[in-house]
Amino acid sequence: MENRSLVSIADHTREKIEYLIQMAQEFERRPNRHLLEGKVVATLFFEPSTRTRLSFETAANRLGARVIGFADPKVTSGTKGETLKDTIMMVSNYADVIVMRHYLEGAARYASEVAPVPIVNAGDGANQHPSQTMLDLYSMYKTQGTLDNLNIYLVGDLKYGRTVHSMLTAMRHFSPTFHFIAPEELAMPETYKKYCRDHGIKYVEHTEFDADVIAGADILYMTRVQKERFTDLMEYERVKDRYLLKLDMLAKAKPTMKILHPLPRVNEIEYSIDDDPHAYYFEQARNGLYARQALICDALGITLEDVKNDKTIIL
């Protein structure tokens, strides 16, 4: 049987990404359906993540599926020493698709190799978080009308931020120009810069973050700068405000420029920006619902054609 699991966005071609974006668009138009009636979706969160879980569960519920699972690994067998494989095999008896979040890297890939039902990776440690990448791509597509030739400015923690790393790999099909803006200690690692060079992805590095730098951006992608990432706390105190986005820094921004953030934010974006037309992070989070509806359906073998011809729409 063909493995319909989604483990990493890097596994997808340009065509597949565009296809999933189209499917997300269909769901955005009509999010409430009985399309998944009779299906059971399991959400297994071996590591708690309320946002991601609520988004996936809402996606399944709005399509009429039933949802089983756990939100907190402390109440499940994982802590009794049961292997991941055993848990996955057990749940496969009950569910048609398994959405899983795990603190171990590679857990989703392994689960997809042993499970008889498709796996949707909802984050595996610092490794992959493809549904976040998918909603980021959908948000960029929606706001810019295309994914091709965009100027994407990545700001903050580019060393540990897995969302920015996944974005590099996913965008390799769309000839983007990336701008990396980060404190030295959290700069984009050499491996990813090499990845860009090997795949013909243009990039520019900045340490300054001001209105002049932002002026060229189509997408300003902010990430959290976390204190615990710094070995030198003095360094953290020195740089933390330098990568804070303030309203006056948007003075020269393109009118179509949008600010994205995977949320939750700590203090990367001044609250006064929330009402500015460039702010897009709350809509971005809502796009996650449609993107995840598409990912669940794709894992279940439901095609874009099926979604377009769906007679179960609830008006």
């Binding site: 494989k85 171990l104 890297e105 590679g106 857990a107 890939r109 392994y110 490794n127």
Partner: protein
């Protein structure tokens, strides 16, 4: 064979594995499962070598390995030479080539990798002089890879 290499007794038939860096000798022994063999095995440890400093050599009587068994040795010693001996003569000389995929051989150095937390086999693909973990995408430098400990 040159005279000085005869520090270790010659064999009539079998395989000679030469140019093993001495610190990798026991990895080679483990990978070829030599400790469970019944044929005569001669090991030369810490012999002087011009290019390696101290090298080791293993001679295994009446035993020929498959390419697959031998190529996995490239993980720990890429410059290994192998001689197939028949009737005291070298009838074939081989070098080893790193396989594209290594299953159950190399340990992932990422403690948060699923392979270090679940009873399962590791899997790496080779990219230049690096190995990439199929599961966590961690890269290992060929120079300092660690092997998985014997299972069972």
């Amino acid at each position: 064979m040159k005279k000085k290499e005869l520090l270790v007794a010659a064999i009539e038939n079998g395989t000679v594995i030469d140019h093993i860096p001495s610190d990798r000798l026991f990895d080679v022994v483990r990978l070829l499962k030599i400790e469970s063999m019944t044929s005569a095995v001669t090991v030369g440890y810490n012999l002087k070598s011009q290019d390696l400093g101290l090298k080791s050599i293993i001679k295994i009587a009446d035993k020929y390995f498959t390419d697959e068994e031998l190529n996995q040795l490239a993980v720990v010693c890429p410059n290994l030479t192998l001689c197939i001996i028949r009737d005291y003569d070298i009838v074939e000389k081989h070098t080893v080539h790193l396989p594209e995929e290594l299953i159950g051989i190399v340990k992932c150095s990422n403690p948060k990798c699923i392979t270090n937390n679940e009873p399962m086999r590791t899997r790496f693909r080779s990219v230049g002089s690096q190995l990439v973990c199929h599961y966590c995408n961690h890269t290992e430098d060929l120079k300092n890879v660690k092997l998985v400990q014997e299972e069972n």
